[in-house]
Amino acid sequence: MAYTVEGKGPSHIGIRMSNDAPPSHKEEARAQAEEALFGFWVFLMSDLIIFSMLFATYATMTHALAGGPGPKQLFDIHSAALETIALLLSSFTCGLATLYMRYDGSVKKTLLWFVVTLLLGAVFLSLELHDFIAMAAKGGVPSRSGWLSASWALIGTHGLHVTTGCIWLLIMFAQVAKFGLDPLVQTRFMRLALFWHFLDVVWIGIFSIVYLLGVIS
């Protein structure tokens, strides 16, 4: 596999990363890593457009209940609050993990906090799954009404993103086991952290617009 970028050794890559490269190499490395992170931002923003359109669809469907159950009957606000806390804490632990990775180069602490992030992600997903099952049990299946289709699509897309993030974390653990915290693994972790923080930002929109505005409608 290509563990070099454009013919340069992995030690050339690093944006505020713990490596032993001389300062001139570090500057060059920083520029390369910033480029990689910028590319990832382009992806995140295209993802933001997807979510925005799902939000727009949801907003146009708020009255399309077709006589089916509405947010008041289907949403459990306490569950949404727990999910919010789990995802927020996971965003924090993800930040801590990158901090230990970039400044201390400590494999142990980095992995510990990423494992906590993964566990919190799993807590979030199991709560969400529980919500979906409870909704379906009350007749709130996606085919019931336009509003339900839009809700399942929006919340489900976010849930799938979090699932992807969890799988990505597992893959990164395998990479750390094989390569250690080498500079390329570090930039991947940094992109994963951006992805994870971004998903928490999208969740702010979901709990505010779907859950909170839903139950007071």
């Binding site: 920083r30 910028f38 931002w41 933001l48 505005l213």
Partner: protein
């Protein structure tokens, strides 16, 4: 770049802790407003909207490290341009379909 990584590290750590505290408070406020129902409906809606906007800014600044420094200028421009596209598309969708609903509903 700052020459002292230890100071930078401490600042960043404090940033994450501050981000967590602010985000927790800004999440708790709208949830509390909805659960207690202490405010009139319009007040709750405004509380939710303002708290969400503030929380998004806290996340971008303290978790995603987007600020006005030169090294983040490209990221910031990309984000602002994407936001423009989002505002046009979401605003347009709501405007057109909202009118349609009002006139045909």
């Amino acid at each position: 770049m700052s020459a002292d990584p230890r100071r930078e590290r401490r600042q960043e750590l404090h940033g994450y802790i501050a981000g967590l505290c602010l985000a927790l408070i800004l999440s708790a406020i709208p949830f509390a407003a909805v659960m207690t129902g202490a405010l009139p409906r319009a007040g709750i809606v405004w509380t939710i909207a303002i708290a969400a906007l503030c929380q998004v800014m806290v996340h971008f600044r303290l978790f995603l490290h987007i600020d006005l420094s030169r090294s983040h200028r490209d990221d910031l421009q990309l984000i602002l341009f994407s936001l423009l596209i989002v505002v046009l598309m979401v605003g347009g969708t709501l405007w057109v379909l909202g009118n349609q609903r009002a006139m045909m509903g």
